[in-house]
Symmetry: C5
Subunit: 98 residues, 5 copies
């Protein structure tokens, strides 16, 4: 899984029927040590009620369909967690609400 920051959203009227009612969020992946942007943004489906600027965990590939309620959805990236904290080499590099 990778960690990214929610930076936006995408709206489609004409879309696959299974996507109706789904939040399609734009995620900017971040480096896990520095939390700086790293790599290209992508669109992910939200499975946990994530909001703007939150740091989230994203699962890719066929496992994106294992996220709660997405088994019949054409998703290759799903948000499966909102990050509370990240610890690297014994140091807390991120803690929510700080």
């Amino acid at each position: 899984m990778i960690i990214g920051k929610i930076v936006g959203n995408v709206v489609c009227t004409q879309k696959d029927p299974t996507l109706v009612g789904r939040k399609m969020l734009v995620v900017q992946p971040v480096d896990l040590k520095t939390l700086e942007a790293s790599g290209s943004s992508f669109v992910a489906l939200d499975g946990v009620g994530a909001g703007d600027t939150e740091l989230v965990m994203v699962v890719g590939g066929s496992s994106a369909r294992m996220a709660d309620g997405m088994s019949q959805t054409p998703t290759d990236r799903s948000i499966i967690g909102i990050i509370d904290s990240i610890e690297i080499l014994g140091e807390t590099v991120f803690r929510k609400d700080q």
Copy 2:
């Protein structure tokens, strides 16, 4: 999922039987913030009736077969939405028909 622009199409007479009658479109991925071309073009099957120069959402991997009507099709990239708008950091960076 990634966002790309439809820039062309591919025609094959000799092909897998499940591809008969399928539109095979050439998609140029774009950067989600600048909408400039980013990365290599690829061929995707169209599941939503997308047309030339439209901005679309593309799903990859096994989930490409979850697009409507493609479960028995050898596709690793399917178009599952036509983009109406993209909002990044509170700004609308794309709106269709503008």
Copy 3:
């Protein structure tokens, strides 16, 4: 899917039993606009009777097993079409037999 040119083949005597009798072709991916070599060559199984120097469409990942007759085969790249023509931005950049 990506487009590539068939540039060779690979022979194995000792191999997975499901590969017996399968043509294993070397494919050089090409840029879809310039048709020049782009990226590393790989081995693909042939599902459509493709021949040397032909331009072909290749599907990857689990969908490679959706190619006709390959559902039980350990393939992650299968050739599913022989390209007749490619049109980019209204121009024909490739037409077979020219």
Copy 4:
């Protein structure tokens, strides 16, 4: 599979229900010859009781769900072994507890 070093962990309260009780470890991939950091860190689920700074084997994609007890979990990276030793070209480049 790739080899990496466990360098940290991630905590989420709000997450996919199947992730409750799962250790989510941060893995830094390493070059198999030099054992130096190589490529971006990611989050993996632990299936073998791995601990901080240990060298582990990580499986990706849908096969991450084949790890013991993870068939219903949205994971695209799972730890499936703790490395005892690595031999390259007849030389032992890593041995645990040395």
Copy 5:
């Protein structure tokens, strides 16, 4: 599929139960034209009895589990053939035992 050279092996005592008794080989991918090392080494499960320094064909992703006897194994890279010869543009660039 990609072609690589077997350059070593990995030993784990603590591992997923399905890996017990499996040979875990280190493979260095090679360029198909020059046969020089190209890209990062990885660990693959052996399905064909491959040995040190042999050139092998490796399948990735979920199809790695289609290799003979691996359907329940958490593998994302399996060796499915030992290369006898490679022909590129009409020239034999590799022949075993030469």
